[in-house]
């Protein structure tokens, strides 16, 4: 694996993050050196670990009864939205 293969501009697009040219260049260099550092993991023998390791300390499928409980009001939920009206969040049209 060539760790320097990261294309920062492309990955930033996947992450919905606009970068300036200067940021792209700085991150390209810095992240490449971090990837070189983590390359060391490839040399560790992991044959004793299952393919999808399940952490034994973590609970799985924590369920609760499906019943009504008090929750935030619509007003409380929308209060922090940058734009809202009638308890609805406003965004530009998605479908033309």
């Amino acid at each position: 694996m060539n760790s320097n293969s990261i294309d920062v501009a492309y990955v930033a697009g996947l992450a919905r993050l606009e970068l300036t040219q200067a940021e792209t260049e700085t991150f390209q260099k810095q992240i490449s050196s971090i990837l070189d550092y983590v390359e060391a993991l490839q040399r560790i023998d992991v044959s004793s670990v299952a393919d999808n390791p399940i952490d034994p300390n973590l609970p799985t499928n924590v369920l609760r009864p499906d019943e009504l409980r008090p929750s935030l009001t619509a007003q409380d939920v929308v209060r922090n939205a940058p734009k809202s009206a009638n308890n609805l969040v406003i965004m530009p049209k998605i479908v033309e």
Binding site: Q30, S33, R79, P82, V89
Partner: protein
Amino acid sequence: MSLYQETIASLRRKLTAKEISPTELVQSLLQRIESVDPKVNGYLRVDSEKALAQAKNCDLSKPLGGIPIAIKDNINEKGEECTCASQILVGYQAPYDATVIRKLKEAGAILLGRTNMDEFAMGSSTEHSSFKKTSNPWKLDHIPGGSSGGSAAVVAADEAIASLGSDTGGSIRQPAALCGCVGLKPTYGRVSRYGLVAFASSLDQIGPFTKTVEDSALMLQAIAGQDHYENTSRPVAVPDYTASLQQPVKGLRIGIPKEYFGEGIDHDVADALQKSIAWYQSQGAIIKEISLPHTHAAIAVYYIIATAEASANLARFDGVRYGHRTSTVGDPLTIYRKSRAEGFGPEVKRRIILGTYVLSSGYADAYYNRAQKVRQLLRRDFVTAFQECDVLLTPTSPTPAFKAGEKMNDPLKMYLADICTIAVNLAEVCGISIPCGFSSNQLPIGLQLIGPHFQEGTLFRAAHAYEQAHEWVKRHPQF
């Protein structure tokens, strides 16, 4: 000694005996904040009126009745701004109380203000705050550690009696060590994270900063326990932590992992640690040299798993439902890209990109899945060690506090500052940092004790005995 210099335990005795009132105590702290915080810059916001109003109405019969506590700015406190020290959350008002906040309120605590941090808890120096830089109270041109640097600095500078922070890779223990206070990262699942703004969900844990080990036990007592709002909090009974304080260390089996005492450990730190080990031995503890053979891989595993989880957790900040929205007019995609570009700082962007990459198609196997496997090996190291040891003893940080600006241009160098704390989060065990000396240039040094899952009581036992036999906690920074 002034009131602001005292501990939870001593103040509770005075409050319940009516020797002092909560209002006097809050006033003492507000004056202290006014006089030293312009130098320390530990707080982002202090609401004096609200603190005084709480002092008037607090219930002194409760375990933390009348005790003023500061909160890291990534924990939701209803009606208060909660910014994570990020421009993207400026103006965000928490619509509900985090479980730890509800519990502190129920325990009678007074919430004093909100502390500075690295943006979204990403950093080891608090220099990544988008608002201001916090200083180390012992030397103002040095960093306080991070990411909970504000919470550590305000306790060390006697601007709060205790505080809450969060620890994903060392963000409580490392600043506690660098500022000379006590910092506890409880076991994963011990304290509910409901209402903590998520960074890396398989690692994040909330814990207290205090001046003494006894106070740490009192704080954990108040915030621990299962919470039906948080499915990773575990149904493990919460013991009486103060009861473990009085147990002697004679016979305690203390493991010294050799990997934590190698290259890169500062001379003063190594010296202080050797003296601490000798003290434990003199008290009848059994010292064993052990090995945690995968320690060298911890930072690499961490910076894959933590950034992967962060890239997913921070996807919610898109300018739609809360936080900053760009003024640029455009389609939704433009709004997401611009809002995030304008709202996030460089370290957050760097980690989102790295995390997105290690999860992306074609690379997830080589990076993320492999890191998960190595994490299990790291975990096994600890499980094996705890078969023959009750606690492990290591440095908390390889060096004392460093100078502001020293590591800002080299992210990898900054990441290496967490080398002694990160594996504890990956293995989900508990760890505490306590003061164990000062460097030749008078900066605090921290000792880390690591315990098995849900054995915080053993940490308190070992830490309290050491603290009682030494004078470190009696020193206060001078301004």
